[in-house]
């Protein structure tokens, strides 16, 4: 057991190198959230006057949405890295060593989780510097970060499964561009649910991206609705477990196809 854990850590460390050795990528991935927060946030500042936002500051409202969006959009590409490792021969090299097969997959999950948590915290701090207010305090921020990590795990694991299954960049690019905008706009990222058309609101209820936003937004508010937090957070956890299970299944089928 302890070897499986230490091997998971070696695999995580290995992947974290990509992040720590190429800080430019980390900075680039933060450009979009900054644009959403400060350009979009200022442009639509007065939208809160419509009511239903639960706050008078649109920036406060945006933060959970932007954190969840960035968790989604960065983890969606996890499959590309996996694909590259397959094509480069890295995965097969590890498969001929006695390394625990679980460690190979878990390393991905832990790495993506750590990177997502880091990015989420940076966005929260940037918004704080830009004048956002978090009445829910540190606990609220922690819930938001956790929710975005779970959301990232769901989409990271699905993306990995897709990468191993189709082994084509084009498919990953296609599915991601197809999903990203609809998922974003069919959520409460930019607009209070009460202001959304009814049909959109109903679809948003089934959108995991929206679950992360609701859980985070509620926890960050002055009077968190812990029922909302735990139901959405629990649903994300279930989905994350299912997605990781699926990616492990796909990994097994990859091994049979080698």
């Amino acid at each position: 057991m302890s070897t499986a854990i230490s091997q998971t850590w070696y695999m995580t460390q290995r992947q974290l190198l990509v992040f720590t050795r190429q800080p430019a990528y980390a900075i680039i991935t933060l450009i979009q959230p900054v644009i959403w927060l400060f350009l979009f946030g200022n442009l639509f500042k007065k939208i809160v006057e419509l009511g239903g936002f639960g706050t008078t500051s649109y920036l406060d409202y945006l933060v959970p949405g932007v954190v969840a969006m960035s968790a989604l959009s960065s983890n969606m590409w996890a499959g590309m890295a996996t694909l590259e490792e397959i094509q480069r021969g890295t995965l097969n090299r590890f498969l001929t060593t006695p390394v625990s097969r679980a460690a190979l997959m878990n390393g991905n999950v832990v790495n993506n989780g750590l990177v997502t948590a880091f990015q989420s915290v940076v966005i929260v701090l940037l918004a704080l510097a830009g004048g956002a207010d978090y009445p829910g305090g540190v606990v609220g921020v922690a819930v938001l970060v956790l929710a975005s990590v779970l959301l990232g795990t769901v989409f990271g694991a699905l993306s990995n499964a897709l990468g191993m299954l189709v082994q084509e960049r084009e498919s990953i690019i296609g599915i991601n561009t197809f999903l990203l905008l609809p998922l974003t706009f069919l959520s409460s990222a930019f607009m209070a649910p009460s202001q959304m058309p009814g049909w959109m609101r109903h679809i948003a209820d089934f959108n995991p991206l929206n679950w992360a936003m609701i859980a985070g937004r509620s926890a960050l508010s002055e009077n968190p609705d812990w029922g909302d937090v735990s139901s959405r957070g629990g649903a994300l956890l279930v989905l994350a477990v299912a997605a990781v299970w699926l990616s492990i299944r796909t990994f097994r089928s990859y091994q049979r196809k080698v």
Partner: protein
């Protein structure tokens, strides 16, 4: 474990069919004695890589058995993995990690820690001439450096059996010669068994003590390079005709040449004619006269000492380069010309 001189690698009747009815192996047999260098030689698509994948526990055969270092690859893949080093065609060292970091990680996966690990890594960096580049990310390495790192990665845990899958494919001539020297040095060491695959005839000739020629998923002939070449009597004469001959012309030509004394194993294939002669240079004039009489123009004639290419031609019934093209096209045509 190795007190009995059991084969280091023993595969029996391996059969593997991939999805879409691509039969990669049709009864592959390989036996490699401990401490020797064994070469699997064949064109692309002959089944060399599939064999290596099965022996290194990556793929499972549809049927057949295999043991490596005394362990059954299907029943005890974990024991096999501890005993083998694998240098695949693409070993995929982490490009953002340094050479040293790549080696350290590889060592950790085999349970090496602390001082043991660092001294082994330093030793390998030194030996593969990578010490100066040890602290640089692998993405800045040249092709030859990467290949040396790949081999070092395969040796980190001092394996009993090393698999080298096309170790020099894609290397420039200089790096290729350097890699050959390195493999020679490895071969002389600590009773390491090496199974290498190659589609270069000269590479198998130069490196391997025993060679198995693989064609369409099975071994067609096996032996030492010298014994294989020795089976071919005399010199090889290769002619290139001005025009390809059809089936009728082929029979005619083969008959006409076969009647000449001192010539045998006549093979006419499109524009190419191969003949074996006890004394090649002496036989050429008579051969050219015979072809001239048959009304066939000759563009070029060469006389050569037997090579593994000739062995391949004899046992696989076609020329090596053609088998290579066919395999890449995914077509297996009898005869060659289409």
């Amino acid at each position: 474990m190795s007190t009995t001189r059991a084969p280091a690698v023993e595969a029996r009747q391996l059969i593997k069919t991939y999805a879409g009815d691509v039969t990669a192996l049709r009864g592959m047999d390989v036996t490699v004695e401990p401490g020797t260098v064994f070469g699997l030689l064949g064109p692309n698509g002959a089944g060399k890589s599939t064999t290596v994948k099965i022996l290194t526990t990556l793929a499972k055969p549809d049927s057949g058995t295999a043991t490596v270092a005394g362990h059954d690859v299907l029943r005890h893949p974990d024991r096999v993995r501890r005993a083998i080093g694998v240098v695949a065609q693409g070993s995929g060292a982490d490009p953002v990690a340094t050479g040293r970091e790549n080696l350290q990680l590889q060592g950790r996966l085999y349970g090496l820690r602390g001082a043991d690990l660092s001294s082994r890594v330093a030793e390998l960096l030194d030996r593969f001439n990578l010490a100066d580049a040890a602290k640089r990310p692998v993405k800045g390495y040249s092709g030859g450096m990467r290949r040396r790192l790949d081999v070092a990665l395969g040796l980190v845990h001092r394996p009993e059996v090393l698999f080298l899958d096309e170790p020099t494919t894609g290397l420039d001539p200089e790096a290729r010669t350097a890699m050959w020297d390195e493999i020679d040095r490895l071969a002389g060491e600590e009773g390491l068994t090496i199974l290498l695959t190659t589609h270069y005839l000269d590479e198998a000739d130069r490196l391997a003590e025993r060679v198995a020629i693989v064609d369409r998923g099975r071994v067609v002939v096996e032996g030492t390079p010298d014994s294989l070449k020795g089976e071919l009597r005399g010199d090889a004469i290769h002619l290139e005709l001005r025009e390809a001959v059809g089936d009728a012309g082929r029979t005619l030509l083969e008959g006409a040449i076969g009647r000449l004394s001192g010539l045998h194993e006549v093979l006419v294939d499109g524009r190419r004619v191969s003949v074996r002669a006890d004394d090649g240079a002496a036989a050429v004039p008579a051969l050219l006269t015979a072809l001239d009489r048959a009304g066939v123009g000759v563009a070029a004639a060469t006389v050569a000492r037997p090579s593994l290419d000739d062995v391949y031609l004899r046992y696989a019934g076609r020329r090596y380069s053609e088998a290579d093209t066919e395999a890449t096209d995914g077509l297996v045509l009898a005869g060659g010309a289409r």
